[in-house]
Symmetry: C4
Subunit: 219 residues, 4 copies
């Protein structure tokens, strides 16, 4: 085997364990969000008020949950179409997971800071910048795949590639916009992050190239 | 391929990763419950009393653990019968996971509030409402599947469909009842939640349509 | 199909997702143990002493980690030999997982109580009782399997069945003994729990019936 | 079957569940790191400063994340090449997972201690010693595999074995060096740990022996 070919072979990874590891990180990041929800002991006197008073935490919880859900759907859509994972994709995937598992921190901060006008501005900008980072990492991962068509399964059409690009790229612009908006109107920006996440999930599409998918790993 | 058909194809997802991600969320939500169990430093003088004094936490732990276990069994029963997952099911699954991973919060709250009559009422109602939400999300997921028979594997019988419906639907009514009961008798309602969970697990049935199931993924 | 047979069919579950869910719970329970390790801010003046001073926590961490590791090995050995999972096994598996995911609580308590003679006795007994519960749940699961030979793969020999029984049953006796010992000598009992765990892992054996196992899920 | 052969058969394990359990532990250890990131309530007055002030935590977060990522890549590279897992590999794998899931503790400690010259030295040495332990456990695992060629898939070449050895062994020397450096210059050592992790990930290579890998478990 010529050296160039062997080198290329050496940089191949099977996708299965990468997906399993990624699913683990997504699932944990999304579930750890609940740890930021708690009612202080002092609120026990009027617990109903105490629970309602936590609304910024619920909003932050829902926003980050739906955002990570949308990232997971996009990750799923990408990896379903890969024949194998090369070293560059592997590294970018680790970077993506690092930005995703970081999210509980700015999420908690945004919820915590909401009652202080100055702190809120900073926290919402920081939250938006973190979301921006996630979507940049995702876009870089997809771009790397697209530039090396050998990574894609043969049945994947140009149309599908374009569709995934069209669904993932605009988010970068939206997050830049929302983060700039946060400088002037942090409340509006916070709502905007939730809207972006909901739209992302709503626009997600399945796998037309799935060659008769099986519903269960165990089957 | 005609456009309608292609659109339908595009909304198909393979179920394997959805199950893996869901299993992760279920497993983590169920294991995070333990973080609410702890004995304050001050109880070290009489630790036996300190441990026993935590009984509401153990009850809450057991109730949420068995409840999530029952939801997982129902989730398993549904996904085992799917040929593929469409976009609507995917979204409802994310919603279900969001309500499940939220549960550690009301669980901890209910245990924390149990020594204060007023707080307890609110906490138990809040806990019941959260459980109600979970079972509504689960029922909506199953209903979506039933309305589109193409989602089901061909070997699934009408009888099985009815059996799953019969096992999952009544819980909505039971949780409404228990939550109303919580207004008048929070203690009784708390016990009722545990009974509902135990009965759900006790009524769960296996997969008659499993075509000679293999016990191990690795085999 | 006669009713009896159909009922029996209905109580079958495929093992793959049960293993995946169980692996998740085992992995999380084992990893959450680290959250009990922390050095108080006040120890920053003499951090070396502060780190060494935490030795009971390291001992508790190691004991619970190795114990759960041993349970996981036993769980693996059992499920590898199952053709399918019936409803009773499913329920006992949930019970086993509930006792396992409970372990971080008595683990943390034992480490916390070690500096107070009275509290230590109670905490070590409580820890031993929790370990006893885990091994009873595991033995009940295995017993249920053995009593219904149809659950076992045909290639599993009587010798293997006996070997698993011989490896799992004695732990119940050992944990009873160690917990009684904890009444008189909590320190010795704490060491004994670690020894039991180490011996369990050391005695674990692989799968002779594995029909040419594949090392990778993804292959 | 002669006794020796049967004993050897008995010590075989299928790798699939071992990978699943390991992936779970890796994913959780890596995601729990975020729990050490938080801004104290008092910093809400000047949150921007409060966020920036946490830089040692981000550095520690990134270092441990990339380190565990590199360990996971090496683990993946090893297990992909195994025909089956014997008892010795299983035990060393549990040891490796124990050292990996321990890492959030020294990581948090290093970040916490950074503002106190004396505490920092101790914390960085402790962190380095923990990383050293992880790489020793990994090297011991790989050494055990290499010494028993029957564990390896037949298609694995001597060249690949040497390549993995060359990529994993030097880290032991590097961690010894960095930990000694920490005695004199903790800051430089902290930076060095990150560099080692980045280089490890950068040097990771894929699986040339993968016989046409499939990207998706579910396919």
């Amino acid at each position: 085997m010529p050296r160039g070919e062997r080198d290329e072979m050496e940089s191949r990874w099977a996708g299965g364990r990468t997906e399993a590891f990624s699913d683990g990180v997504f699932a944990i990041a999304v579930t750890l969000l609940v740890l930021d929800l708690h009612v202080p002991e002092s609120a026990m006197n009027d617990l109903l008020h105490g629970i309602v008073h936590q609304w910024p935490n619920y909003l932050a919880y829902a926003t980050s949950f739906v955002t990570i859900g949308g990232i997971w759907l996009a990750h799923h859509a990408i990896f379903r179409r890969l024949r194998y994972v090369n070293t560059q994709v592997m590294r970018l995937n680790l970077l993506l997971l690092m930005t995703v598992s970081f999210l509980p921190f700015p999420t908690g901060l945004a919820a915590q800071a909401v009652r202080d006008a100055n702190a809120e501005r900073v926290a919402v900008i920081f939250y938006g910048a973190s979301l921006l980072l996630v979507s940049v990492a995702l876009a870089a991962l997809w771009r790397t795949v697209v530039r090396d068509p050998k990574l894609l399964r043969p049945e994947v059409t140009q149309e599908e590639v374009r569709a995934i690009t069209n669904r993932s790229t605009p988010n970068i612009g939206l997050y830049v916009g929302a983060t700039v908006l946060a400088i002037f109107a942090p409340n509006a920006a916070a709502g905007f992050y939730l809207v972006i996440a909901l739209v992302t999930v709503a626009r997600a599409r399945g796998d037309s190239s799935a060659p008769e998918p099986e519903a269960s790993r165990a089957a």
